[in-house]
Amino acid sequence: MAHLRKTGDAVFSKVEKVNSELFSLTYGAIVTQLLKDYEEVDATNEQLEKMGYNIGIRLVDEFLAKAQISSCQNFSETAEVIAKVGFKMFLGVTAEVTNSNASEFSLQLTDNPLAEFVELPEQYSQLSYSNMLCGVLRGALEMVQMRVECTLTKDALWGDDVTELRVVLKELMDEEYKDDDE
């Protein structure tokens, strides 16, 4: 997997970058705005995931174009590519793949740029603060024919030692072309 790390580093070194504080503060302000609008945690979690999905279906093309990864042989390889190249080229950090098998894997982050300097107030302790990441993965993977479910299973903001996303493969989508003549 060393070559994937190298790829990730190389791509990240070439992209335009911004201060991660700017990014995390913007993310935080958006979460705050959502909490204000929806006033409750579940709806906010859902909206974060949805926004992430919209980002994912775009971002995947930027990823494919820059990272130039040839197709992955199996789901575990997909996991490694996401962890070492995907995360690195966008968030500047790599993730660790754990608990992976043919249809599931977990991604662990010790460093989460979305949640820098964040503390969850008591009333929002159930918030999946980084849920947008789950949506991004779901959207991006759907564009490459993998329907997945992604959930935040551990969060440093919840007191865990890492932030963890669990990705479960639900379906490998077949290419379908229906000639629907109106």
Partner: protein, 172 residues
């Protein structure tokens, strides 16, 4: 204490976030949005920018002495602040010396990427104006960090440039 290396993320992460923010407040089709909804959307985007601007300004000036005059705050925003965020400075600053300042950014990075489809060319300026609300909020937030209350209005002329008009409210 050695300064930690500046942590960075890809610029597109910041761009995609802003795109989703705009999408969140106006939904998919600007043309079908009423003026009232557009105004409400503008305020929300500006409010997000305000929060960010305030906190960033706080961070960037933690170890620097207080600014003596309002003009010094404005200059800080135009130079160091804007550079930290957008890797360029405000291109032109004008003032009437009576509390009104005009800040011109000739090339806002996100506005520079805006290119409308033929169908929605009519609404392009409106949508661009929404994107410009975020930096407007940044300015207002940064000002408030130094106890300067102001209103910040925007004018999007020829893309990708935009102009921010800052009207400082005199505090007696």
């Amino acid at each position: 204490m050695a300064a930690a290396p500046h942590k960075e993320v890809a610029e597109t992460c910041f761009s995609y976030l802003q795109m989703e923010l705009v999408e969140l407040v106006i939904g998919s089709d600007v043309s079908s949005v009423s003026t009232v909804e557009l105004q409400r959307a503008s305020r929300k985007i500006e409010a997000v920018g305000f929060q960010v601007g305030q906190r960033l300004a706080e961070r960037y000036t933690k170890d620097t002495p207080r600014f003596a005059e309002t003009i010094d705050v404005i200059k800080f925003i135009c130079k160091d602040f804007w550079f930290e965020i957008y890797r360029k400075q405000i291109d032109r600053l004008q003032t009437n010396n009576r509390g009104v300042f005009m800040l011109q950014d000739n090339r806002n990075r996100l506005l520079a990427r805006c290119s409308p489809s033929l169908e929605r060319r009519g609404n392009a300026k409106q949508v661009a104006a929404l994107y410009a609300r975020f930096p407007a909020g940044l300015i207002r937030g940064a000002l408030s960090c130094f106890n300067v209350t102001a209103s910040v209005s925007i004018e999007v002329g020829e893309l990708p440039s935009c102009e921010f008009t800052v009207k400082v409210q005199e505090s007696k």
